[in-house]
Amino acid sequence: MNDSALVRLSGVGKGFVKGRDAISIFEHLDLAIPEGDFVAVMGPSGSGKSTLLNLLGGIDRPDTGAIEIAGTRIDGLSEGRLSRWRAATIGFVFQFYNLMPMLTAAQNVELPLLLTRLGGRERRAHVAAALEVVGLADRAKHYPREMSGGQQQRVAIARAIVSDPKLLLCDEPTGDLDRGSADEILAMLKSLNADLGKTVVMVTHDPAAARYAKRTLHLDKGHFEEKELAA
């Protein structure tokens, strides 16, 4: 493993208690993702893909082991620090877009900037730039209900990148889209990786989607199995 890894998991264990049963998802997971990588994570349902993303994003905590991202050990951070760290370091894209229905596209994209010290004018400039990147500059004033699924997902991507995070975590970002929209989104993620240098970790069920990534990790029974893919 190389030392310049942006993401490093060492000996991570995670389980859940469901009623009387304790189920273990991972027992001793090691993973290193270098900066600038684009990783697809595949695996059967229930194998722990979303749980892995939650751990990487500081949404959930490991039971054992250490998680270090961009030089910060996040497994021991307090809730407040974790919030601030997440706002600065991570961009999330979900399967169901998760936009605020009462806010316009531009306002949705602006949300993460409310946590920064940027003034109104700078915020508007950042929002415009992010919408430009996802090709929705002309939809700034539209509400989510006025947009297609693919367009909503692009707004969600703009929201994920607007505060310029290093790491994008995407949980089945094309799971709810038709082939055409899915390809647009995937191409966009690929260009964010290639052109803007974002490190991307994407969970997907779709082998076609995984081909956009530089490599694919298969998660099954608590272990990774790696396949390099020629793009």
Binding site: S50, N54, G57, I59, D60, E79, G80, S83, R84, R86, A87, A88, F92, F94, N98, M100, P101, M102, L103, Q107, E110, L111, P112, L114, L115, R123, R159
Partner: protein
Amino acid sequence: MNDGVLIAKNLFRKKLRAILMIVSILIAFAIFGVLAAFERAFNAGQEVSEDDRLVVVNKINFTQPLPISYFNRIAAVPGVRQVTYANWFGGYYQDPKNFTIVMAVEPATYLDITASDFAYDGAMRERFERTRTGALVGRQLAAKWGWKVGDRIPISSSIFQQKDGSHSWEVEIVGVFDKNKPQVDTNFMLIRWDYFDETRSFGKDTIGWLILKTDSPAINDRVSETIDKMFENSFYETATDTEKAFNKAFMAQLGNVALIVTLVVGAAFVTILMIVGNTMVMAVRERTREIAVLKTLGFSGARVLRLVLGETLLLALIGGGIGIAIAAAITASMRDSLSTFVPNLEVGPGIVLSAVGLMVALGLATGLVPAWNAFRLKIADGMGRG
């Protein structure tokens, strides 16, 4: 955009629900505003009463008369600096429904003792003392009927009648006076007791009550005791008390307004608290996923808590603000027609201030549970499985 915009957008995302909540809050605050205005107006008399003014009434109750001879006897009590007397006239103008406060008084001493409340100038004093049928009219009352100095008007009594059987006395307006304090009102008139007493068919040589000033409030108790002792076991026993206590006793006849206000307003607010509180809990629960998303974006628990509290506060301030404005409009429209019974009916700064306090309390109370739920929400739980 800022948190304020976010809060407002959240509140009004379901317009009908927001409007219904605002209307229910508004009604509670309108009720509060109107009742509080009545309560303050009723109590205003007590607040302005002077500490060193004592009132002597018949011990049976204050509607029973006292003999005029008490005036000189009380004036001679040590510690009494000034004393005067008055008689309730039971007045109306032209029609019994035009109820008018008229008091028959001894001119010189009455004006002296009430000089701190009302601005009687030297000329009107002099004319009142000289004119047996003279009357001094408060500015408000004069304005109500368009009376001016020099007018001769008939003033009728629903209690007394003249020896010739008439219920009406003709008086000449010799002065119109203003007030010295904002809390008192000038919706009444003074006529002369000697003119009234000589012409009435019954009750001759009696008075309604005496007002006296002592040398200092410190000796009030002693003076009161001396006076009441002096007339003990006589046919007309007296009860002497401060003007404040007297006004309070008078108000007690109108029922315990303050208690009614508290009960009605309390009931209204408990209802609102439950309705709005419950609605907000549900409204925020519907947004569980969105709150989880906000937290994912890096919003802290405290920030989310503030957003929810901000929303319930905004709701309470909008509803309460409109409600108080409506209360102000209602009291303003009733002010003139009720000024005889409840002078100075208004939603004043004191009421507005307590209303704002209530709004903040209501906003915080209704937001407490949903804000706490939002604060505690774990992202993974909020996003649901899958």
